[in-house]
Each structure stands twice: as structure tokens, then as C-alpha cells.
């Protein structure tokens, strides 16, 4: 069931939040052994939330997400729950407060089912960097679910939640959504509060939903978006309701195809699927135009200086002093060194090192400042492109979900973000929506592909509206069930 359906049924009294929660928790029991989406299943807490929702509904309250089970990525604080960021350094940390975005969904009646696995501190594109668990792609358990929001994606794909909350810094919502046959949506930077989202790269991080349908993503976004006084970077702009903006066609819209993102490089089958997707947009009434993002090719280099620089500073607080892991030392300096050596995995260490280096004396201008200038150019590219089109369409990822250990070279993993990074750098809203299936080379099962759509800054209504039209017309998502956790009814 979609979130919208659940909310309608629970609100109408056809089923209780407690029943939905019970059946979801049963599903969790059934499939977690294979999927491993959750680091912490919330069980009693979920039941308590459900009881509360049922009480509120009896009292006549209208709750937009009544009884909807949600997966919360484990880099988001939920008061009283273990919040680990997939890291040993926070393996036992209990959050004393809740993230604003999570609280807003709970306020609207959502039921947190579990804290979802992720790449450590959101750094990765496959969920393989988690230090605390392995998550498998429900569509093929020998493959990764994507990352860093892999747990949230797998949970929704395996019916262990109707909405997954993820965070996107360079593609960490969109790519796992593409890998797991879901809609994954990253709003304009600043639309959703980052208070309570454990920071990776402050100027890039955004929370967003992973869902079965565009409508569900719209519902979740409408509830989470909006100014939060606890986050100075959250936007104080009116949030246009996206759930009311869903379109049935794309008449009158111009869709830009990026010259630099020629899909031929993706292989014959994927190329064909994307070209078919673009034709579908045209059939829906859109005019296809060619646009150029000349600096997009420098996106990776830009991102892999800015994001690590910010993360090197954001992760300094994990020092063994006030919370989290401590490994003793003869003195404080040794304690820091030992704690962080033991607490952080290899990818996190790599990024802390390169980030520290990029900010260090003598290199700051050559690396960090230069990258921020390149970022300005990328932003300008998008602005120029959007003068000629209303939306841009391109792949969400360069390949479908790959097998475990397939990308052991760090740089080959970084390349997974190639298509998603430029949107993050420009801050524009973007999403991935299922656009077809392909059996990967040497694979056994068909795996989904994701079409990425992005809109100008603050263009969430147009973006979700158009994505809905495409989804309705094509319905690719329902073509194949997952290997594990198939939707029951």
C-alpha cells in the first residue's frame, strides 16, 4: 500500500494505526534476515506511537500521514532511539532530541518503524560503508541497495515502510531510489530543516523522501518543508503544496536534455531505455530541447573537495569527550587519535584527510576556494539552461545496482554520483523516478533504472507535478516484484 492509501484508510477508520504497525513489524521480522534494512527496529516504540495516533484519530484529529510506517535513516535524530550514522563511533549513542523533519512527520501521524542502515556518516553510494550492518537490494539480494540512504530505500522496497527518510548530499537519495525501484526526491537546498540531521556536508545536505509513488513523496515533502528557527539555513519562503500540483501530462513544458550527458556511454540497453524515457516525455506533451551544462564534468572534482572539507570540520566533534565511543589514551591527544582511529571506517577517514588537506594553510585557495568558484560556474550553468527549459531530464545513475564489492576502488565508487552531484552543488531540486528494467551483465534478475528530473531553485511543484505525469503514464515500477519483501496486497 502507498502512504496515501494507508493514511486515507486509517483516517477513515477502516484500519487502525496499531494494525498497520503490527503488520509492518511482522514484515520486518519476515524479511530483515535477508534485507537488513534496519540497524534498529523500533518495535515497542512504534507500537506506542501507533497507540497515540489511534487516540488522536478517535478524538477527531485529522492527520495527513495517519498510521503511515516510515523508515528513518540512522543519521537523523529521533529522541530516545539509537542513532548511529552507520558508525562504530556512535554505535551506542541515544539521541536526546528529534530532528525537526522527523518530528513534523510524526506530528502528522507517521509511525517510525526503524532506524535505517546507511553508509557511514552518509559517505558512500552503496551502503557498503556501513560499519554496523549489511543491507541488500530487495530486487536482487546479491546486489547493493545503493547509498548512502540504502537502508531507507531497501525498507520501502521490501514493504517494511511506506516512506523512507533519506538524506542527499551528492545523490544519496536519488541513486538508492533508482537502484530500488523507488521515487527519491531531494528538494531545493534549505527547503527542509537540517536540525537533527547529523551533518556530513553542511552546504549540500538535504533530507528527502524515498517512496513508491510521486504522490507519496509530495505528501511527505509538504509536511516537512518550511522554515525552522533551529536551522539558520532553512528557507523562509512559502512552500507551495506539491500534493495539489500533480499533473497528468506535460503539455506546454520544455524538457532539457543535457548535451554532456549522452547516454550512449551507459551501454546499449540503458541507452535505449533512457531514449525511450525521453520519448515518453515528448508523448506526454513536452518539447525536448538540448541544453548544455559545460561545467558539469567538473562536478565530481568540485564536490570531492567541498564535501570532505566541510565534513572534516563537522566530524571533529566525534572525539570521545562528551558522547559516543572512547578509546582511552595516556593523554587527551592520544585519546582523540585512538578513538577516531577505531571509530571511523576507511571512507570516512579518507574524506576527513582530504578535507583537512583542502582547508589547510597553503592549500586553502588552491583547493577549497577554487572548488567554490567552480561551484558558482555550475550554478550559473543551471541558471542558463533553465532559461531555455523548465525541467532537465537525465539518468539518475550510470548503471543499475551492482554486486557487492564490485567497486572497491574509491574513485570508481565516486563516479556513481556523476549525474547527481551537479544538482546538489547548484542546490536545485531533483528526483529519481523508475524508468525501466534491465538485466545487468552477468546478472540473474531484472534491475530497475531511474530517470532523474530536476527543476530550477524552488521548483518543487513543477518537478513533482511532471514526475507524477510520467509515472502515471509508464508505471514502470510495477513491472517486476522484488526478490524479497514483495508487496502483499
Amino acid at each position: 500500500m502507498t502512504a496515501a492509501e494507508i493514511a486515507r484508510d486509517v483516517s477513515a477508520g477502516r484500519i487502525s494505526a496499531a494494525e498497520i504497525t503490527a503488520s509492518t513489524l511482522a514484515q520486518v521480522d519476515a524479511v530483515e534476515g535477508d534485507v537488513g534494512a534496519y540497524l534498529t527496529a523500533l518495535n515497542d516504540l512504534a507500537r506506542a506511537y501507533a497507540t497515540r495516533v489511534d487516540e488522536r484519530i478517535s478524538a477527531g484529529e485529522r492527520l495527513a500521514l495517519a498510521g503511515v510506517p516510515i523508515a528513518v535513516k540512522d543519521n537523523m535524530c529521533l529522541e530516545g532511539t539509537r542513532t548511529t550514522c552507520g558508525s562504530k563511533i556512535l554505535e551506542h549513542w541515544i539521541a536526546p532530541y528529534s530532528a525537526t523533519a522527523v518530528a513534523r512527520l510524526i506530528q502528522a501521524g507517521a509511525i517510525p518503524i526503524g532506524k535505517a542502515n546507511c553508509d557511514e556518516f552518509a559517505m558512500g553510494s552503496s551502503c557498503e560503508n556501513s560499519a554496523l550492518g549489511v543491507t541488500r537490494n530487495p530486487y536482487d539480494l546479491s546486489r547493493v541497495p545503493g547509498g548512502s540512504s540504502g537502508g531507507s530505500a531497501a525498507a520501502v522496497a521490501a514493504s517494511e515502510a511506506a516512506i523512507g527518510l533519506g538524506s542527499d548530499t551528492g545523490g544519496s537519495i536519488r541513486e538508492p531510489a533508482a537502484f530500488c525501484n523507488l521515487v527519491g526526491f531531494k528538494p531545493t537546498y534549505g527547503r527542509i530543516s537540517r536540525y537533527g540531521l547529523i551533518a556530513f556536508a553542511s552546504s549540500l545536505d538535504q533530507i528527502g523522501p524515498l517512496t513508491r509513488t510521486v504522490e507519496d513523496a509530495a505528501l511527505a515533502y509538504d509536511l516537512m518543508a518550511g522554515y525552522d528557527p533551529m536551522d539558520a539555513t532553512s528557507l523562509n519562503r512559502p512552500v507551495g503544496r506539491t500534493a495539489d500540483s500533480l499533473r497528468s501530462d506535460l503539455t506546454g513544458l520544455r524538457v532539457g536534455l543535457v548535451r554532456e550527458f549522452d547516454t550512449k556511454v551507459l551501454g546499449e540497453r540503458s541507452d535505449a531505455l533512457y531514449r525511450e524515457a525521453y520519448r515518453e516525455l515528448e508523448r506526454l506533451g513536452a518539447e525536448l530541447v538540448e541544453v548544455s551544462l559545460p561545467t558539469a564534468d567538473y562536478g565530481l572534482a568540485t564536490y570531492y573537495l567541498i564535501a570532505p572539507a566541510e565534513c572534516s570540520s563537522n566530524l571533529a566533534r566525534f572525539d570521545g569527550v562528551r558522547y559516543g565511543l572512547r578509546v582511552e589514551g595516556n593523554d587527551v591527544a592520544a585519546m582523540y587519535d585512538n578513538t577516531r582511529a577505531a571509530g571511523f571506517g576507511a571512507e570516512v577517514k579518507r574524506r576527513i584527510l582530504i578535507g583537512t588537506y583542502a582547508l589547510s594553510s597553503g592549500y586553502y585557495d588552491a583547493y577549497y576556494v577554487r572548488a567554490q568558484k567552480a561551484r558558482t560556474l555550475i550554478g550559473r550553468d543551471f541558471a542558463r539552461a533553465f532559461a531555455q527549459c523548465d525541467l532537465i531530464a537525465c539518468p539518475a545513475a550510470s548503471c543499475p545496482a551492482f554486486e557487492f564489492n564490485a567497486k572497491s576502488d574509491p574513485y570508481s565508487m565516486y563516479l556513481m554520483d556523476y549525474y547527481t552531484i551537479p544538482m546538489s552543488l547548484a542546490g536545485v531540486p531533483a528526483l529519481s523516478v523508475p524508468c525501466g528494467w534491465t538485466v545487468p551483465e552477468g546478472g540473474r534478475l531484472p534491475m530497475p533504472l531511474g530517470l532523474q528530473l530536476c527543476a530550477p531553485l524552488f521548483g518543487e511543484q513543477l518537478l513533482l507535478g511532471a514526475a507524477h505525469a510520467y509515472e502515471r503514464a509508464t508505471n514502470h515500477a510495477s513491472a517486476h516484484p522484488p526478490e524479497t519483501g514483495a508487496v502483499r496486497s
Binding site: 535524530c77 536526546p96 528557527p229 566533534r317 562528551r322
Partner: protein, 486 residues
């Protein structure tokens, strides 16, 4: 100090603002209290927490800059200063690097002899304070040799102004006078309690020496751990002497951080927590830039109170008060304001100062009531002064009157009328008293006539007594002398 050398001193102060809440979160900003009871996810640096700047703190630093004639740039931002230390909850401090909220400025100060001098400021910027650490296991609470440390984050996140002076002070005495003026100004602005004993004012000094008459700066050392103005003076003087001795004997001064040892009166090299750090400053992506509106700057400037140095110039210049009297008034703002109002009404700063700092302050001390809150209104005191000026009453009566006014007996002219306290300036009336006194003190008169001239004071005093204090003392003196010489 050896006149062959010149000392060059710069002072760096950290001032805790007394806003209601901390710089980046809503925790109470208050000295003392049980450890770790005034904290939240933000000031504890917990995962996921974010800073939001305190608008009041920004206003206070702008006012401070304006009071020192600093420039308030149109654009300012916060930067992260990255280093690891256990009292730093995020292991970076939110501070300001290259675009501070105020630039330049000047601190005008005065020496004990009344000389006005000045020292320019480089800048004043805003940052957050760290937590507090106490050290255990070394036997004396010091960090060296300690076995472990305890951390209290109540202070973490308190708004801090860092005031950096140019190296334009040339003696320990000047440094202290500079600090005193800085402190007085911050008190007048009501931005901080500036109590060194509570840590709301902390200062470090950069000290170097060079041959007198040269312009190149010598190697400086940074002096820390000075806990009072007296320590500052002693520490700087000690460091200047130490450096001169080194240079005199042909050695070279090492650039280092030195801690003042109050007990032994010397500085020792110490490891600075900030030694040799690459702070990797970058603009804090969690915060927006600050654009201070020009009309806000104008408004805040127009609302500045009278500043201590302005008072000092007026009091010692225009009013002709002594340095001590001026300083006493400046150090008691409510008294100074009262004094200012009395001067306006009476037009007589000298007398105003005499009464305010003299009898009124004595009464205030005795009764525990502030002069400004007493029953002696500004109008009443001004009236008293004019009665003295016109010689309607003498100073002894005036003192009595003040006592009565303090208790609420009404205006001076009313009391004088009611009780007939007007000074007698009628010579014939006084003559009567003089004759009485001389007749009653034959021996003393004989002593005077024999050459013992100093008994005159005793006789005049007896006349004053006989007249129940109302005789015009000058006239009484004159008449007694006249009668004695006849």
C-alpha cells in the same frame, strides 16, 4: 625601565557579553551554577545540532564598536576556527576571521596625572566562549602534572567579544590605564559585567622591547594568566625587565607564550592551547552573512550614552575637577548622572562635586542608600548650592542641612526659613558674640597679644559656637582680629 629601550605592548581582551542567552542557542547566559546544567544539544556540540546567532549580541558588539569610533562594515560573516581541545564542544570555534563586525577604532584613556592618551584598536569581533576545565591530580590545580581534567560546558557558547589593540602602548602603566578605560566604557554601555574575577573580562598582553628611537618591532612574547589589573601591571613590567636584561646581555628574545606566576612575581614559559595551530579557517556554512543596516548603525550611534573619556574630558577640563574626583564620579555611573544633573541646575561644578563626593557620599555609605535614590533631589541640592554661593548660609550649616534633607525634611530654603538657619552676616550681631567670647577667654587673648597667633582659630571657633554656627566665618574671623589688635 632602562631609558635606552622602549617597550611595545598590545592588549587582547575577551569580554563576555551579558545577553540573556548564549551566542548560538537559547541556553541561559549566567555565571556560576551547578556544572552542565545550562547546556543543550547546540552548545554541547551534539550530533545534528545547529547554531543560530543571537541578534542582541550582534547589536551589543555594534554599539561597542561605535563607542570606540570603529567602522561597522556593511558585510560581516562567521568563520570556523578548527582545533581540538576538550573544552571545545565542536572541536571548532565559531569566530570571525577576515570580515569582523567592527574594524579599527580607538580607546581613549587617561593616566593618574590626568594626561589623556589613546591607543587604536585593530578590531573587535564576535565569537563563542569555550567550556571550563578544572585539572586534578597535580596538587595545585594546575594543568601541568595533572592526572585528569573535568569539564563544565555551562560557559560554552556564551557570546564573547575579542578586542584587539594595536601595539601602541609603551608602559605597563599605560596598559592598565587602557584596560581601565576599556572596562569603564563597556560598563557604561551595559554590555558586560567585565569582572576579571568572574572571567567576564580576560586579557593577554603581547610584549616586546626595542632600542629607543627605532621603529622595527622586537620579538614579542604573549603573556597570559593575569587575573587582575594589578597582575597585568606587574606581569608586563616584569616581562619588559626580563626582555631588556636578555637584550642587554647580548641574548635574543624567544617568541613564546609565558604565564604569569602571581605568587613568585615572574613569568614562565607555558604551552599555549593555541600553539602552532593551522586553524583552517573557512566561512561557516551553517550561518548566513550579517549585513548591518546603515540606519541601524545611525540609530545605535545616536543612542550611545555619554562615554567615560567624554566625562573625563569635561570634568577635568570644563569643570576643572581633579583627576581623583573625576575618576570617582566616572566609576559610579548613577552618581555621575546625578552629578551631571546637579551641575546643569546649579551651574557650579566645583560645589556640586564637593557635596556629591563629600557629604552626600558619606551619608550614602553610612545609610546604604545610593545618592541617586536618596531623598535629596537634584533641585534641592542645586538650591543648597546657590544658598551657599550667595552666602545666605555657611558651609557648616550646609552640612547640617544636608543631613536633614537626607532624612526628607524638605527643600533647603524651606528648612532655613522654618528654623532660622540663615547665616548672620550682620557685623553688629557678630560683634556682640565676639565681645562675649573675648571677655570669657582673657588668658587666650593675652596669649595672642603675647605673640601666640595660632590661638585665633580657637577664638573664631568659640564665636561660631556662640552664634550656633550661623555667623559668617570669614566675617567672624575679621572681626575677632580687629578687636584683638585694638
Amino acid at each position: 625601565m632602562n631609558p635606552a629601550y622602549e617597550a611595545v605592548i598590545g592588549i587582547e581582551c575577551h569580554v563576555e557579553l551579558k545577553t540573556a542567552t548564549k551566542m548560538f542557542c537559547g541556553c541561559r547566559n549566567e555565571f556560576g551554577g551547578e556544572p552542565n546544567t545550562k547546556t543543550c544539544p547546540v552548545c554541547l556540540g551534539m550530533p545534528g545540532a545547529l547554531p543560530v546567532p543571537n541578534a542582541k549580541a550582534i547589536e551589543q558588539i555594534v554599539r561597542t564598536g561605535l563607542a570606540f569610533d570603529a567602522e561597522i562594515p556593511a558585510f560581516s560573516k562567521f568563520d570556523r576556527k578548527n582545533y581540538f581541545y576538550p573544552d571545545m564542544p565542536k572541536d571548532y570555534q565559531i569566530s570571525q576571521y577576515d570580515m569582523p563586525l567592527t574594524v579599527g577604532g580607538v580607546v581613549k584613556y587617561w593616566l593618574e596625572d590626568g594626561t589623556m592618551k589613546q591607543c587604536r584598536l585593530t578590531r573587535v569581533h564576535l565569537e563563542e566562549d569555550t567550556g571550563k576545565s578544572t585539572h586534578a591530580g597535580s596538587g595545585d590545580g594546575r594543568i601541568a602534572g595533572s592526572a585528569y581534567s573535568l569539564l563544565d560546558f555551562n560557559r560554552a557558547g556564551v557570546p564573547l567579544m575579542e578586542c584587539v589593540s594595536e601595539p601602541e602602548l609603551h608602559s605597563a602603566r599605560d596598559a592598565v590605564a587602557y584596560l581601565e578605560s576599556l572596562r569603564r566604557t563597556l560598563l557604561a554601555l551595559e554590555v558586560s559585567d567585565v569582572k576579571m574575577e568572574e572571567g567576564s573580562l580576560r586579557c593577554d598582553a603581547n610584549v616586546s622591547v626595542r632600542l629607543a628611537g627605532t621603529t622595527q618591532l622586537g620579538t614579542k612574547s604573549e603573556i597570559k594568566n593575569m587575573n587582575s589589573f594589578r597582575s597585568v601591571e606587574r606581569a608586563i613590567a616584569s616581562e619588559i625587565a626580563r626582555q631588556i636584561e636578555i637584550l642587554d646581555s647580548g641574548g635574543r628574545v624567544v617568541q613564546e607564550t609565558r604565564g604569569w606566576d602571581e605568587l613568585h612575581g615572574v613569568t614562565h614559559p607555558m604551552r599555549s592551547k593555541e600553539e602552532a595551530h593551522d586553524y583552517r579557517y573557512f566561512p561557516d556554512p551553517d550561518l548566513t552573512p550579517i549585513a548591518v543596516a546603515r540606519n541601524d548603525v545611525e540609530r545605535l550611534k545616536s543612542e550611545l550614552p555619554t562615554l567615560p573619556w567624554q566625562r573625563f574630558e569635561r570634568y577635568t577640563g570644563e569643570y576643572g575637577l581633579g583627576v581623583n574626583a573625576a575618576t570617582q564620579l566616572i566609576d559610579n555611573l548613577s552618581l555621575a548622572r546625578y552629578f551631571d544633573a546637579v551641575v546643569v541646575r546649579s551651574g557650579n561644578p566645583q560645589q556640586s562635586s564637593n557635596f556629591v563626593l563629600g557629604e552626600l557620599s558619606r551619608l550614602a555609605n553610612e545609610t546604604g542608600v545610593d545618592v541617586a535614590n536618596s531623598k535629596v533631589t537634584v533641585e534641592d541640592l542645586a538650591q543648597l548650592i546657590s544658598l551657599v554661593e550667595s552666602k545666605r548660609i555657611n558651609s557648616k550649616i550646609a552640612k547640617e542641612l544636608l543631613g536633614r534633607m537626607w532624612e526628607g525634611a524638605g527643600s533647603p530654603s524651606d528648612i532655613v526659613e522654618r528654623e532660622g538657619l540663615a547665616q548672620t552676616s550682620d557685623p553688629s550681631a557678630i560683634e556682640g558674640f565676639v565681645d562675649e567670647v573675648l571677655a570669657a577667654n582673657e588668658k587666650v587673648v593675652a596669649d595672642y597679644k603675647a605673640g601666640k597667633l595660632n590661638v585665633l582659630g580657637f577664638l573664631v571657633g568659640q564665636v561660631m559656637k556662640a552664634s550656633r554656627g550661623k555667623a559668617d566665618p570669614a566675617l567672624a574671623n575679621e572681626l575677632v582680629k580687629k578687636k584683638l589688635s585694638s
